[in-house]
């Protein structure tokens, strides 16, 4: 008999996140709005159901969190700057940008806010960092394909590292949103 000695919360959270991503992938053929809406709803449900008060973790101040997140996001966007601007209209950005910000924030709350600390508590910070980065890469696999998997893992490592350094989710969410928004404006 094989026994997996993993505490329930980390594994359960990981499973929930992966199931959420799988559901989104299954619904893509029915439209971007529906699949993303269900994804947001499922992440929101995880946020509501799995909420736990943070205990004994001191994080950076709001100002440092915003600065650090902005810097990491800008560094993620930097390699695309040389390609010039995309030409996408600013007037169309607001809706897309809002949706991207909400999805990014929810992903960060669930993955960096709860999943990573859960694995860290049960298996140590290296495991937490690696599992969170792997989950981050895998949930985007259906949309962006295998070619983006290593990149998403690298970005997951950077943002996960930011979580460890700062002790907060806010800089992770800021970095994620800045990187997403940069993709709109850059070619």
């Amino acid at each position: 008999m094989i026994s997996v000695a993993v505490q329930p919360r980390a594994a359960r959270l990981t499973l929930l996140v992966l199931l959420t991503a799988a559901t989104r992938a299954a619904l893509v053929s029915l439209g971007e709005a529906l699949s993303t809406g269900v994804f947001v709803a499922c992440l929101g449900a995880i946020v509501l159901l799995e909420a736990r008060p943070a205990v004994g973790e001191k994080g950076w101040s709001m100002r440092w969190s915003l600065v650090a997140g902005g810097v990491v996001g800008a560094v993620l966007v930097a390699p695309s700057v040389g390609n010039g601007l995309s030409g996408r209209a600013l007037s169309d950005f607001w809706v897309w940008g809002s949706v991207a910000a909400v999805v990014a924030a929810l992903e960060e709350i669930v993955i960096r806010g709860w999943l990573q600390p859960s694995w860290s508590a049960e298996r140590g910070p290296v495991a937490g960092l690696m599992v969170a980065a792997a989950v981050f890469a895998v949930i985007h696999l259906p949309r962006y394909g295998i070619v983006a998997l290593p990149l998403d893992f690298g970005v997951g490592l950077a943002i996960g590292g930011l979580r460890l350094v700062s002790g907060r989710v806010l800089p992770c969410a800021v970095a994620h949103v800045v990187a997403d928004w940069g993709a709109w404006f850059l070619a």
Binding site: V155, A179, A183, W184
Partner: protein
């Protein structure tokens, strides 16, 4: 240093290392992707289509489409395979090994894609949808035209009715067996067996956007935003209730 302080320092060091390693990895791997990635699983809307002859409502903002060119070496009488794309990525061609045929004196072949300013008239009952592109190849250094057995093209088409790609062989247009990209991406591919001109076509009088399709698109875009706002409000209310209960 206390045990807890030491643990915190170790976590900080691990986090710093992960940030640097992740950013370096991301910078290196970014070069593999044709456009900046999004990390949400969202799809970026396409950049505006660059028309040779834009519709009147887009004429002020239109950018003229670009050309593309690539030079392939001839080795042992065979032309290496590869791809050519226009700078705006609206037209792409892929050539397999030895698909392009050249004379014995050729040392390389220059393959080009150019938007056509005055395309030949379309067959009765059909209308052009987007630009027509000319695919051509010339030997180097002679400048003689090269021949080709087959190659794959991918054309982007603008919003509106689209049915298939067409090929103009110098005398008439031929409808091509066309494969559309999945997920509504506005790209279509086909195989050409000669150099010439190709473009996207639609039956004349085909319906573009109707009030229903416009409403559906608006619902798709703003419906999602409304859904997210409603859900966000619910989440905030839940959080406030939880904190009040805790207090």
């Amino acid at each position: 240093m206390t045990r807890r302080g030491g643990r915190r320092t170790a976590r900080g060091a691990l986090g710093g290392l992960a940030v640097v390693a992740g950013l370096v990895l991301a910078a290196v791997l970014r070069a593999w992707l044709p456009s900046p990635p999004v990390y949400d699983g969202l799809v970026l809307p396409q950049q505006p289509y660059d028309y040779v002859s834009p519709p009147p409502n887009l004429s002020s903002s239109n950018v003229q489409p670009s050309s593309g060119e690539a030079t392939f070496p001839v080795q042992n009488g065979k032309v290496a395979g590869g791809g050519v794309e226009t700078d705006d990525r609206q037209a792409i061609a892929f050539f397999g090994l030895d698909a392009v045929h050249v004379s014995a004196s050729a040392v390389s072949v220059k393959l080009r894609i150019d938007p056509v300013t005055n395309p030949p008239p379309w067959p009765a009952g059909w209308q052009i949808h987007g630009n027509v592109y000319k695919f051509s190849g010339v030997e180097q250094p002679s400048g003689a035209p090269a021949a080709v057995t087959s190659f794959q093209i991918t054309l982007r088409y603008p919003p509106g009715p689209f049915q298939s790609l067409w090929f103009y062989d110098g005398t008439t247009w031929h409808e091509l067996s066309t494969k559309k990209a999945p997920n509504g991406d506005p790209f279509a591919g086909a195989t050409l067996t000669a150099f010439g001109e190709a473009g996207a076509g639609a039956p004349r009088g085909a319906q573009g956007d109707t009030i229903i399709t416009i409403l559906a698109r608006l619902a798709e875009t703003y419906g999602l935003l409304a859904f997210i706002i409603v859900f966000g409000v619910v989440a905030v209310v839940q959080e406030i209730r939880r904190r009040r209960k805790k207090a």
